[in-house]
């Protein structure tokens, strides 16, 4: 397994460096002078702007700045300072990350806890009334924009029923509506994916073999079909987790939760490109870690992949 972990890390590290390089390069070519932005609104003399440029190190060649930026991120975990208020972006991100992480983690938990059993049930009872109802509802949820769902939830549970708060992040109850709004669409899609994966496995030959052994239906489904269906579903969960991390961005704006997403949207609107680049790279890092963990779990769950990376002294036997 160690070999597999190393191999995955070797792929991940250059990808992450490339992410840093590309983001910095893209933002560098955005129209608008960062020095002017950093000075704030109002009229500034050329000398003032030039001084600011030097203070920000913008007078140096592009490649030098790029190298420094990427080096700072990877060696010192330093994302630089905000152009607008000069705050340290790293600390801003660290301060906000727990909120974003909470939304994403609660969302994926809700998704798996509801979507997995529902997907299995609908696959086992394919074409029953329950399955049809689930297909219809999940299809509809899948098409609902999360910000609209969020607004409807606020309308019903905060404004009409007054059960739950509609903005802020003071306690866990503040995360209930954001979690539901963020996961509803993904939950619907996930349920359908579980159903499809499970259906495919249920109709496979080895499930028939299990049945022909005399196993009760329950053991056939949970003992034989499910472990196989779960392997591809693991990857799906990882992908969903990642997209819920991205989706948290919108949710944070709707519910005024001071997370990374809100920070990102604000910095884009304020043209604070340092903060924006930092936020995006930070999200990419988190996403990469999630995908890495998913892949490792996948390899652990699937004996076929596990065997490929088993310690090399025990050679995989191909023939008997």
């Amino acid at each position: 397994m160690a070999r597999y972990v190393i191999k995955r890390l070797l792929i991940m590290i250059p990808t992450m460096i490339a992410v840093g390089v590309i983001m910095f390069t893209l933002m560098n070519f955005v129209p608008g002078d960062p020095a002017q932005l950093a000075l704030g609104s109002g009229v500034h003399t050329t000398a003032e702007i030039e001084a600011k440029r030097q203070a920000l190190g913008l007078d140096r060649p592009f490649l030098v700045r790029l190298g420094e930026y990427v080096g700072n991120i990877f060696l010192r975990f330093d994302f630089g300072k905000s152009l607008i208020d000069g705050t340290d972006i790293k600390w801003e991100l660290m301060k906000r990350f727990p909120h974003t992480a909470k939304i994403a983690i609660f969302s994926i938990i809700l998704t798996v806890v509801v979507g997995l059993p529902l997907g299995i049930y609908t696959a086992v009872h394919a074409n029953s009334a329950g399955d049809r109802a689930s297909l219809f509802v999940t299809l509809l949820f899948d098409c609902m924009p999360s910000f609209w769902t969020a607004l409807l939830l606020v309308l019903l549970f905060s404004l009409k029923l007054k059960w739950l708060p509609s903005s802020g992040a003071k306690s866990l109850s503040y995360f209930i509506l954001p979690t539901i709004a963020n996961s509803l669409g993904g939950l619907a899609g996930f349920t359908r994916q579980v159903r499809a994966s499970m259906l495919e496995v249920i109709r496979s030959d080895y499930v028939t073999t299990a049945r022909s052994k005399g196993l009760p239906e329950k053991d056939v489904i949970y003992g034989h079909a499910l472990p196989n269906a779960l392997i591809p579903i693991l990857t799906v969960i990882g992908m969903r987790f990642g997209s819920m991390l991205g989706g948290a961005t919108i949710i944070e704006v709707v519910f005024s939760i001071p997370g990374i997403g809100q920070y990102l949207v604000n910095s884009i609107n304020n043209r604070d490109y340092n903060a924006c680049t930092g936020g995006i790279i930070f999200i990419a890092f988190t996403f990469a870690v999630i995908m890495l963990l998913t892949d490792l779990l996948y390899a652990f769950a699937d004996p076929r992949i596990k065997a490929q990376y088993e310690s090399s002294n025990k050679k995989v036997k191909k023939n008997g």
Partner: protein, 311 residues
């Protein structure tokens, strides 16, 4: 499961494993699966697809005609009619500036449709080219292209689209570029997997052994077999990008006020949700049905194009 399959007195009770299959009983058995006729027959018997086609056609026609058929201009403010609930005069009510929501919603359909369709076509064209190159040439080109696309897939897609919006700025065209570029890796991977799958099939091998020229193999064997998943993916992509474009506009990064893009409309009226919920509910319903229509069409295409690929 299998325990219930048996029906003793034969023929009395019909055991149907699948409703979808049940639906296909309407298609004339003489029509061959895979033919254009079959695809059309299958789609035109699919209720979801019919709903999608009717809804989308209606939206396109109404959006184009909205300046003519609507009593109010979508941008015309009326300070005497601000925030008025739906009535005979204003079927969907008016917003905070007294603008007629019906006119705005109908006119605004064009943004979601145009951005959704054009951005997906942009991803499809570039993605298919890259994917086909990677799949066809293989080796170093393949590895390099795939590693490059890995970089784009290192972001949640919405965050990547936001990054491009930050770079390009706001506006319809910028939004199309942002979503279009974000979607490239998906199409490239799909196409590459397609080409690899088809290249390794025995009928390609057979065509090669009888000295069929390469261009003919590509034209007659690879493309027709690769095209079905791409069509399905395009329909799904339009649905995804339509949703994403309204999300971006809602965040203020896509199409901006005073243009009546649905997401932007929601962003500008969300503060009135407590007292005037219709302002938020109505544009949202249109987003849902538009996205749903493309989704249903994609599903119908998938069923029609590949009879094996059904659950």
């Amino acid at each position: 499961m299998a325990d219930h399959t048996h029906n003793k007195k034969g023929g009395g009770h019909h055991h149907r494993g699948h409703g979808k299959k049940g639906k296909r009983h309407h298609i004339d058995p003489g029509i061959k699966p895979g033919s254009a006729k079959y695809i059309w027959a299958s789609i035109s018997h699919n209720k979801g697809a019919i709903f999608g086609m009717v809804f989308l056609t209606a939206m396109i026609v109404l959006s184009l005609l909205s300046p003519v058929i609507c009593r109010y201009n979508y941008a015309a403010t009326d300070f005497e009619m601000m925030k008025s609930w739906p009535s005979i005069k204003h079927l969907f009510g008016t917003d905070d500036l007294g603008r007629d929501i019906l006119s705005r919603v109908l006119y605004g359909a064009r943004y979601t449709l145009i951005i959704g369709i054009l951005s997906t076509l942009l991803s499809a064209v570039l993605g298919i080219l890259l994917g086909a190159c990677a799949g066809y040439f293989g080796g170093v080109i393949d590895a390099a292209l795939m590693r490059f696309l890995d970089i784009f897939q290192a972001f949640p897609s919405l965050v990547l689209a936001m990054a491009f919006c930050a770079v390009f700025g706001t506006g319809i065209d910028k939004c199309i570029y942002a979503l279009g570029i974000t979607g490239i890796p998906g199409f490239a991977r799909l196409m590459r997997a397609n080409i690899l799958r088809i290249r390794n099939t025995e009928y390609i091998e057979a065509a090669t052994t009888i000295n069929c020229p390469t261009w003919k193999i590509i034209l007659q064997h690879i493309i027709p077999n690769a095209v079905s998943p791409v069509i399905v993916e395009i329909a799904m992509g339009i649905s995804r990008n339509g949703l994403a474009s309204s999300s971006l506009s809602f965040l203020g990064l896509g199409v901006q006020e005073p243009r009546p893009e649905w997401g932007a409309m929601l962003a500008s009226t969300r503060n009135y949700i407590r007292d005037y919920p219709y302002m938020v509910i109505i544009p949202g319903i249109f987003i849902v049905f538009t996205v749903l229509s493309f989704n249903l069409l994609g599903d119908a295409f998938r069923d029609a194009l590949d009879p094996n690929f059904r659950d």
